[in-house]
């Protein structure tokens, strides 16, 4: 068991992969370390959201993911 980090949209290109498994538990500082400085810089922006287990976090810095959780990194959206 581990925490799965999922990269969406342009963050997928930046990460060079769609997802990565890391050891849990994972908090905000652990996430910033795992994803490397470029994506960490993106995560610092308010328009980039983080979801844990299918719920978007109101305060992403309060992230606390356990083994088995999925953490999604959500850059600005564009649909339609």
């Amino acid at each position: 068991m581990s925490v799965r980090i999922v990269f969406l949209g342009p963050l997928r290109d930046m990460a060079g992969e769609q997802e990565r498994e890391v050891a849990g538990p994972l908090d905000w500082h652990g996430l910033l370390r795992e994803v490397g400085p470029q994506i960490a810089g993106q995560l610092a922006e308010s328009r980039v959201n983080v979801a844990c287990s299918g719920r978007v976090l109101a305060d992403k810095t309060a992230l606390f993911a356990n083994d088995g959780d999925e953490v999604a990194l959500l850059p600005p959206v564009s649909g339609g």
């Binding site: 979801a51 959500l74 649909g79």
Partner: protein, 152 residues
């Protein structure tokens, strides 16, 4: 074609039968009187060879369903249909179809507008275009954010 009432919300991996959708929706909501729709397609552009939409399974469809429910309540609709493509699309192909049924034209129109503004810049989709020099991610324009702010 079976249409779920009051809300028919779908993520489509390939194709979209827009005519069948309108026909089935309007017969499912014959009591309404007013049916408005919007169909968005990939606009042919010399520089754009394809469009790709990605989504995030745990959020995208639930978010679309919540959006459809809030349109139903806000505009007192009889019914709503929200279909959105994901995957790779060629120029001319459908991306999104929104249909609303209401007793009066104004509410049906406004609800389509509301749904489209939210799908454009407040739904869990990421869009990129293939141009001769490769794939480019598209961010919402300032105008899209302004359109969304109208509903607050």
């Amino acid at each position: 074609m079976q249409i779920a009432a009051p809300a028919d919300v779908r993520l489509l991996e390939k194709g979209m039968s827009v005519g069948e959708g309108l026909a089935a929706f309007s017969s499912a909501h014959q009591r309404a009187g007013a049916v408005a729709s919007f169909l968005g397609t990939v606009r042919p552009d010399e520089a754009v060879q394809a469009l790709e939409l990605t989504h995030y399974q745990p959020l995208t469809l639930p978010g679309m369903s919540q959006l459809a429910d809030s349109a139903l309540r806000r505009f007192g609709l009889d019914g709503v249909l929200v279909w959105h493509r994901v995957g790779v699309m060629a120029p001319g192909q459908p991306i999104v179809l929104v249909i609303t049924a209401s007793r009066h034209r104004r509410e049906a129109f406004d609800a389509v507008d509301f749904l489209m503004d939210h799908l454009k810049s407040a739904a869990w989709f990421w869009k990129r275009e293939k141009r001769p020099d490769g794939w480019h991610w598209i961010e919402p324009r300032e105008r899209d954010h302004a359109d969304l702010a109208r509903w607050n």
